[in-house]
């Protein structure tokens, strides 16, 4: 087993594009869950409309910037559509409706009725060429030793992490403003906020839309990186990965999604490398096979999510007092 290679692979994953995308998705969830106390289990729906908004627009002949705008517009519309009937309901109902909506969207996207638009089960490929044409980095590989990236990867990574940075700056300003304080008040005690004359419902809708748009950006980033969208990549496990990232970092902390995403992807790639290495070295005998490594990873994420929530729900950065996870 080549430990150096496994470590460099894990480091690459920790700062790679998927990590940036999950940092964005978890930032959206942080606005919902960490700051407003909304249990949105349908973050993947926002990612889906972001990705498909971009891919379909470009595929139909529109420019890329219009595609990005369409994706954001669709996320706003989805936030309104989702929020108006459900935000008056209790947390667990919101969770059920949002996960249901995400599944509805996935089924509709992959349906044969919409195949001419969305590509059905095959999805859409090769729509982000204009983005890669803008790449200022000269072709080649950059880095030292096995720790290196292609110019193409570096370009997406730079844009991805830059987006993360800008969003976090924007959120820092927003959440320190009176608007942000009302969100936290709603998280702490909805009735108290209402008794002070705040329109709780309007604030919740705004929070849902803001976090949803950030989720849509995450979907776009994933879609542009792979130059492909497919309905079956947008399954609800993505939402729960984003939750794991968020809870690992510490809900209610601005930097939590970044810390969470970097550690999450490092660990995910590391376990994968170690498992495959052990498999090749024959240490596991016939207990598991190569195609089961992915399943083991998913199982470990589930176990990690459970243990985190039970043992350290405030994550790495959070504080226990500020959490909505204890009974009041």
């Amino acid at each position: 087993m080549d430990l150096v290679k496994i470590l460099t692979d894990s480091l690459r994953a920790a700062i790679g594009v998927p990590a940036a995308a999950y940092a964005l998705a978890a930032t959206g969830l942080n606005v919902h869950f960490g700051y407003t106390g909304l249990l949105n289990f349908g973050q993947v729906a926002f990612m889906l409309v972001g990705a498909y908004g971009t891919a379909v627009t470009v595929n139909e002949g529109g420019p890329l910037w219009l595609g990005l705008l369409v994706g954001i517009g669709l996320a706003v519309a989805l936030g309104l559509l989702l929020g108006i009937p459900t935000l008056r309901l209790r947390a667990d109902y919101l969770a059920i409706v949002t996960i249901a909506t995400a599944e509805i969207l996935r089924y509709v996207t992959r349906s044969r009725a919409l195949q001419s638009l969305t590509g059905g089960v095959f999805g859409i490929q090769k729509f982000a060429n204009p983005f890669f044409d803008l790449n200022p980095i000269p072709p080649g590989r950059y880095g030292f030793g096995t720790f290196n990236f292609s110019h193409r990867q570096l370009w997406v990574m730079a844009v991805g992490w830059l987006t993360v940075g800008l969003i976090l700056l924007l959120l820092t300003v927003l959440l320190r403003s009176p608007w942000g304080r009302v969100l936290k008040a709603i998280r702490e005690d909805e009735d108290a906020a209402r008794s002070l004359g705040k329109n709780v419902f309007a604030y919740k809708i705004q929070s849902l839309i803001l976090g949803g748009v950030i989720g849509a950006l995450a979907g776009m980033l994933l879609a542009i990186d792979t130059q492909a969208v497919n309905p079956d990549t947008f399954i609800s496990i993505l939402t729960f990965f984003a939750y794991t990232v968020l809870i690992l970092g510490g809900p209610g902390r601005i930097l939590a999604p970044v810390v969470g995403a970097v550690i999450f992807w490092f660990l995910l790639q590391f376990t994968d490398g170690v498992l495959r290495g052990a498999l090749e070295a024959g240490w596991l005998g016939s207990a598991i096979e190569g195609n089961e490594v992915a399943a083991i990873r998913f199982a470990l994420v589930g176990l990690g999510l459970m243990l985190l929530m039970i043992l350290r729900p405030q994550g790495i950065l959070g504080s226990r007092e500020e959490l909505l996870t204890d009974e009041r």
Binding site: I96, A100, Y107, I296, G302, M306, I310
Partner: protein, 417 residues
Amino acid sequence: MPPILAYIVSCFLLLGAPAAESIGGTLREGGAQGDPVAGVVLAVSDASGVVGTGVSGDDGSWEVPLPGPGTYRVSLDVQSLPEGVALRNPDRTELEGVEVRAGQRKSVVFPLGERQVETRSWFTRLANLAAKGLTYGSIVALAAVGLSLIFGVTGMVNFAHGEVVTFGAVVAWFFSTSAAGPGLHLLWAVPPTLLLAAALGAGLERGLFRPLRRRRTGNVALIVVSIGLSLLVRHIYLILVGGAPQPYRQYAVQTQISLGPVSMPPKALFITLVSLAVLAAFGLMLRHTRLGIALRAVADNKDLAEASGISVDRVILYTWALGATLAGLAGIFLGITQTVQWDMGFILLLTMFAAVILGGIGTAFGAALGGIIIGVATEASTFWLPVEFKVVVALAVLILVLMVRPQGIFGVKERVG
């Protein structure tokens, strides 16, 4: 389309060459160039009975390994065909006298096509869909009762309830069909499976959720824990069972029987009747036994129940065990009518939520009725809508109910909001 070609080629590479004889083929709709048809159950039998079953994959291919060369009969389960796809010759569900030589991979063809000009009246078609929906709905009802009651007594939405359903299907598969199992007849596999399901429910309550309640862990945290549990358990199933759908050794393929305008395999009739009987018995238990009354008291008001001397913890424990038993039974039934699959319960989970919320969360009767309504509604919807929108219909009902009457049919208004 090159990616698809590559996919098909890689499928063949992955399959590799089987060592011994087998019967297989590729199911396509409307000739060799048509769309592949997935999820169709086929069985191969010889004079002594069924020797193996197979399910067509995403590329329409299927293969059943054989014990040796000989003459076999291949039958196709018409029930497992997707809506709108039928045998070109509807009477040719079985191929008799298929000869397989030593070492041969015999290919057989079932020509499929669009359903020929529909000869049945709209009434017969709707009646058949309703009957299919009643079977599915009674399974959903069995599974949903536990979900609803556990919410009723603990206030927790258990996102891992789907995995309890899969547990029943997988354990019964292990006892009856798995190569590593004892190879019991499916009927004999049912009692130990249900016992294990009850133990699983009780174990989850004693080992995980009761300690968390003691620590005053809030509702939101419990939901996230149950999500993590669902992820963990589901992928353990994937490792144990594999990704392909697995039919049980028994009852996979049956000849249809006719009841008036409705025709169905005997297993569907049996499952519907048993499910409804179990639900009725459970309802009577809730109504008339001490445990049932205590359970409803706890669901109604925990503190009041505690104050009147009911051991709330014990009632919650029994509710978990009972709910898990019903869910396990639903899993076995779902495995018989469809196939055993590692994520079958998770797919069912949202339908169960729809049933539970339609009926009014926390009530047993509501969940049962909601399950049956959702089952019939989703199947009947295929009369008008493409079959791929089945789940969408259930979820649309869910969202509609939450908008119009969030407490459901039998719920109490103050529970929501």
